[in-house]
């Protein structure tokens, strides 16, 4: 059985969602910023397809808390199991869906049979499960909990302990049901346990119980002549009292990760046919190696016909194909869910290169490692200021930095922008071959931050520095290059007329070595770039310290102006600025 379409109205943070799931999606990983409603999607599927006949519904399950607008969730299922397709179940309620997701009232030619399960929750918080027919007329036929059980849908969330006990809906109970006389066995076991417990209860406990009985009598709560300790086999406890043990330790005492894995294992065993499994925050409670293993298992296990997981983990995303990812975005209640399209170039490369970018709201695609380091350092300092001022930090705003790998940066930015992310490019301006792609990125709503024409980060910075600052920069280069000798040899490599480089004091160069401030800047700039003084994230961070120490002074220069523009964009709380500036098509061309 496959989920092919999900339609949601007024459920939690989702005012509306229409999500078509192509027929080949067996493993679906929902990603998107933290509060985008991924878990609500899993809950919507589970509420609608699960076998529960009552739901604990609260005001907050209605969009905007307004229970006047009833909740509607519709799920289209294809590749139906035999029993579902039969007259005994939904054989007279089949609709049709074609390869492109179009629906028809009947499974006509060119359409495969499907059913549309609808859950509505009215303003009285009363859930109704029914079978919707596209272009059909109400009333819809209702669908029983017994039939929904055949959908075999499981959800693993933070309430897994239920599945490790013999409770009404747990996988263990399902497994037991397939074994004849199990309920009788359980009843007998409970009775035997009851007897055994009453035999081993120490007399002191019995005495205590009797004393309590007496006391209750004294304070006027009636007479309790036979009060004694025992196993509670009444009500809800009667099923939950039996639990899985490992040796002497109940599994419910183990760590969350183990418990979730055990729950998945029992449910895999319990699913009679093929199942659909929903795992919320798959990385939860698992070390990286167990997470990687679990993902591999879920993607290959034939018993699952479809798997939906949510994740915030870059490690998880790294294990997947870009086609597995569905990006969830939520704007004013309007939710969109988009698969990373097959025809998008570089999707897989972006996934491998910067998996964490997929988890952010706002992504800055940078040209290289220098820029990443520079941004990391700057953002750290900007965040500290934001914290002091009580405004949102970059992590609160969901900002991520992605390595664009040089000239690939614009195409990667386009990939991400098409998926609904707020994307910006932070790139040098010394490579003309990137211009056309940058223009294209800009037309895909990618915000572009770029140095002046012909400039890279190093040259844009260096052209504003005076002799003292140039000296400080050379000192920094000595750190990254190891010693002065290396820096000196770097400089000599690019010194056309072979002037003397007496020492680190650029002031001395101007006096003793025929340098002008301009030629000094050009030499340092060339050496810095060609000898990769700062081409490393760590070095970029060091460079950011250098910049921050001179920030006020730099902020009137083009270098600082562009950084401030970037800063403004990063810390803006609304999403995309309406007007975009573009250094490529604007002033520079």
């Amino acid at each position: 059985m496959r989920i092919r379409h999900l339609h949601i109205e007024n459920f939690r943070g989702i005012k509306s969602l229409d999500w078509l799931i192509p027929p080949d999606k067996k493993f679906v990983c929902l990603i998107g910023p933290g509060d985008s409603g991924k878990s609500s999607i899993l809950d919507a599927l589970y509420w609608t397809l699960g076998e529960r006949w009552s739901l604990s519904i609260t005001d907050t399950d209605y969009f905007g808390g307004d229970f006047e607008n009833s909740i509607t969730i519709r799920v289209v299922l294809s590749d139906l199991p035999t029993e579902i397709r039969s007259h005994w179940q939904l054989g007279l309620n089949l609709s049709g869906i074609n390869q492109t997701g179009e629906m028809a009232h009947d499974p006509i030619d060119g359409f495969e049979p499907c059913v549309v399960v609808q859950l509505t929750i009215d303003k009285e918080m009363e859930p109704t499960w029914s079978l919707y027919r596209p272009d059909g007329t109400e009333p819809w036929e209702t669908i029983s909990s017994g039939t929904r059980r055949l959908f075999s849908i499981f959800k693993i969330d933070d309430r897994v302990d239920n599945h490790l006990r013999w409770t009404r809906t747990s996988a263990l109970t399902k497994l037991s049901d397939s074994n004849r006389n199990m309920s009788e066995t359980l009843a007998n076991a409970l009775r035997a346990a009851q007897d055994a417990v009453s035999e081993v209860i120490p007399s002191s406990m019995n005495t205590l119980a009797a004393d309590i009985g007496t006391q209750l009598g004294k304070i006027g709560s009636g007479t309790f002549p036979n009060l004694k300790p025992g196993l509670d086999i009444s009500g809800s406890a009667s099923s939950g009292i039996l639990a899985l043990f490992d040796g002497d330790i109940p599994l419910t005492n183990f760590g969350l990760g183990t418990r979730r894995l055990a729950a998945i294992a029992t449910q895999e065993m319990a699913a009679a046919g093929k199942s659909v499994i929903l795992v919320d925050e798959i990385e939860y409670g698992l070390e990286p190696h167990r997470l990687v293993h679990l993902l591999k298992h879920l993607r290959s296990e034939a018993r699952h016909e479809q798997v939906f997981v949510t994740t915030h983990s870059a490690i998880a995303i790294e294990q997947l194909d870009s086609a597995d990812l569905a990006v969830i975005a939520l704007v004013d209640g309007a939710m969109s869910a988009q698969f990373v399209p097959h025809d998008l170039d570089f999707a897989q490369a972006t996934l491998r290169g910067s998996p964490s970018a997929f988890l952010a709201k706002k992504i800055i695609v940078t040209e290289g490692k220098t820029e990443i380091g520079l941004l990391i350092g700057l953002i750290e300092s900007w965040d500290a200021l934001a914290s002091e001022n009580g405004t949102a930090t970059s992590s609160a705003l969901g900002v991520a930095i992605a390595d664009g790998k040089g000239s690939n940066a614009p195409s990667r930015a386009i990939v991400l922008s098409k998926l609904g992310y707020d994307v910006s490019l932070f790139v040098d301006n010394d490579n003309r071959t990137m211009d056309s792609e940058i223009t294209e990125a800009n037309s895909h709503s990618v915000m572009v931050f770029r140095w002046d024409e012909g400039k890279c980060t190093e040259s844009q910075l260096i052209e504003t520095l005076d002799a003292q600052n140039l000296t400080d920069l050379l000192r920094l280069a000595c750190n990254t290059r190891g010693d002065f000798a290396t820096v000196k040899s770097d400089l000599l490599n690019f010194s056309l007329e072979g002037p003397r480089i007496p020492d680190l004091q650029v002031g001395n160069w101007l006096i003793d070595a025929n340098f002008t401030i301009h030629s000094a800047r050009t030499l340092i700039s060339n050496a810095a770039r060609k000898s990769k003084w700062f081409k490393d994230i760590g070095y970029g961070i060091l460079l950011s310290q250098f910049v921050l120490e001179r920030y006020e002074q730099l902020s009137v220069e083009p270098f600082g102006v562009e950084l401030n523009r970037l800063r403004e964009y990063l810390y803006a709380t609304d999403t995309r600025p309406p007007v975009q500036r573009n250094n490529v098509s604007g002033e520079n061309f």
Partner: protein, 477 residues
């Protein structure tokens, strides 16, 4: 289940697909249920279709007796199944179908359902739902139904069709011709050879049963039946005369034994019912034309006409209402009260009619009908018609959305699913009692039956005695 029956059923299961022609009373229903039971024992599921609601009931009862779970067998009428398919899949059927069936349009449902059953998705649905397919009373299928059933049989190849060409009495006007057993049935479903015993008469009147089996070949050839020369215990021939028909009907019978009085036309039944003063109940056709006439008048007339319409309707359902004569009806029609007129014995009815004279709600109308039922000195002989009409009016009064006619349609439709109640003493027609059994059968006018098939069906309804009234002792149709 007896060993012999099990062996027969098992042999049939192993030889499918096949057709099997069985005379009346030789345990066809039993065999159908036995096949489904044997299937259920190995977790196989069976679809059983037949023509009539009484046939559906009979098979369900037998299945219950064999203890078969309703999860293993689905029993329905052919048109009922067709309606469900066409209703569920209007695009495949090529025609929109209303939520409540209009059985006068069942030919459309069959045509639509044939297209539905032929689609790949629904062929799949049939094939994953059922392992065996049984059609009973196949002789009653017209060519359109035949095509529909062949589509299903294509999806469920293990098909068994049963019937008896001598019981083919379903012939409505403007309908496709019935199947020809040799041309249509035997060619598609290989005939299965089987010996028969007269089952229905065991422990009742076995001699009668043997005789009924023995006359079948002659009737099949269209030879007249001479009743004067036959001396069979329980078989009586009498010259027709209405007094003796009534006398025969009212003759005392052992307690608990059922009696069926068969007439030919609906009007005959009403006359017989009236003459029998409510001792017998008149069975209504499922569509209920008689009630529909009354209820559509109620729906479409001003409330001030209710008293007049009800008086007319009551006269057709009760004996003892001679006092509601032309004079009374004229007054009611013009809205004049009638309680002051002297009509001894039916004062209650007069009061009831006056009480709704100035226009009443449907609720008051239903209430008035209830009071008339309980009034002294009246005998209700069209009980089914009266009670269902009353319930329909009551249901319509409780809801703003439906008319009395629609409410009636739902009541009759629910009979389709629940099965109908058969009175111990019923007046009916051969068409309505196919598949039913009674201890005693009285055929009121045998020489006017349409054909030998009707005669054969009429004779074979009885387990113990048959009394045949006709003009001549040689019945030639």
């Amino acid at each position: 289940m007896e060993r012999e029956l099990r062996a027969t059923a098992q042999c049939i299961c192993n030889s499918l697909p096949l057709s099997l022609e069985m005379p009346a009373g030789t345990g066809k229903t039993h065999l159908v249920a036995a096949i489904a039971t044997i299937a259920a024992e190995t977790s196989k599921r069976t679809l059983i279709l037949t023509h009539t609601h009484s046939g559906v009931d009979a098979i369900r009862r037998r299945l219950n007796r064999f203890g078969v779970s309703s999860r293993a067998v689905h029993v329905d009428t052919i048109t009922g199944w067709a309606f469900d398919l066409a209703r569920s899949y209007p695009l495949l059927a090529g025609t929109p179908i209303p939520a409540v069936p209009d059985w006068s349009r069942s030919a459309e449902y069959i045509a639509g359902a044939t297209r539905v059953a032929g689609s790949s998705a629904i062929r799949d649905m049939h094939s994953v739902s059922f392992d065996y397919f049984i059609v009973d009373e196949y002789q009653d299928c017209n060519q359109n139904q035949h095509r529909f059933l062949l589509e299903i049989a294509r999806a469920i190849p293990l098909t068994c069709v049963l019937g008896d060409r001598l019981q083919g009495i379903f012939r409505f006007r403007n309908e496709a011709p019935l199947v020809d057993w040799d041309v249509d049935v035997s060619s598609r479903f290989p005939p299965h050879a089987q010996t028969f015993e007269a089952q229905r008469w065991k422990g009742h009147n076995e001699v009668l049963g043997e005789w009924l089996l023995s006359i079948r070949p002659g009737l099949l050839l269209g030879l007249p039946l001479d009743l004067s020369a036959i001396s069979i215990a329980g078989l009586t021939w009498k010259t027709i005369d209405s007094a003796s028909i009534v006398g025969e009907a009212l003759r005392s019978r052992p307690p608990g034994e059922s009696v069926l009085l068969l007439g030919k036309w609906a009007a005959d039944l009403d006359d017989l019912g009236r003459n029998l003063r409510g001792v017998y109940e008149v069975m209504e056709e499922l569509q209920g034309k008689f009630m529909i006439e009354f209820l559509s008048l109620i729906d479409n007339s001003p409330a001030t006409d209710h008293a007049f319409l009800l008086a007319q309707f009551a006269k057709k359902c009760f004996t003892g209402l001679a006092g509601i004569d032309a004079a009374v009806l004229r007054k009611l029609e013009s809205g004049v009260t009638i309680s002051h007129l002297s009509r001894p014995g039916i004062e209650v009815v007069q009061q009831v009619l006056d009480s709704i004279l100035t226009g009443s709600s449907l609720d008051a109308l239903a209430n008035a009908m209830g009071r008339i039922s309980r009034a002294p000195n009246l005998k209700l002989f069209k009980r089914e018609a009266w009670n269902d009409s009353r319930t329909a009016i009551e249901n319509a009064s409780g809801s703003e959305d439906i008319s009395a006619l629609e409410a009636f349609g739902r009541i009759r439709d629910s009979i389709r699913h629940r099965g109908r109640r058969i009175a111990r003493r019923s007046v009916s027609r051969t068409l309505l009692v196919k598949g039913l059994e009674f201890d005693h059968v009285i055929i009121a006018d045998a020489d006017r039956l349409k054909d030998y098939a009707n005669l054969y069906v009429a004779l074979t309804r009885s387990r113990k005695t048959v009394t045949v009234f006709s003009r001549r002792s040689i019945i030639s149709l």
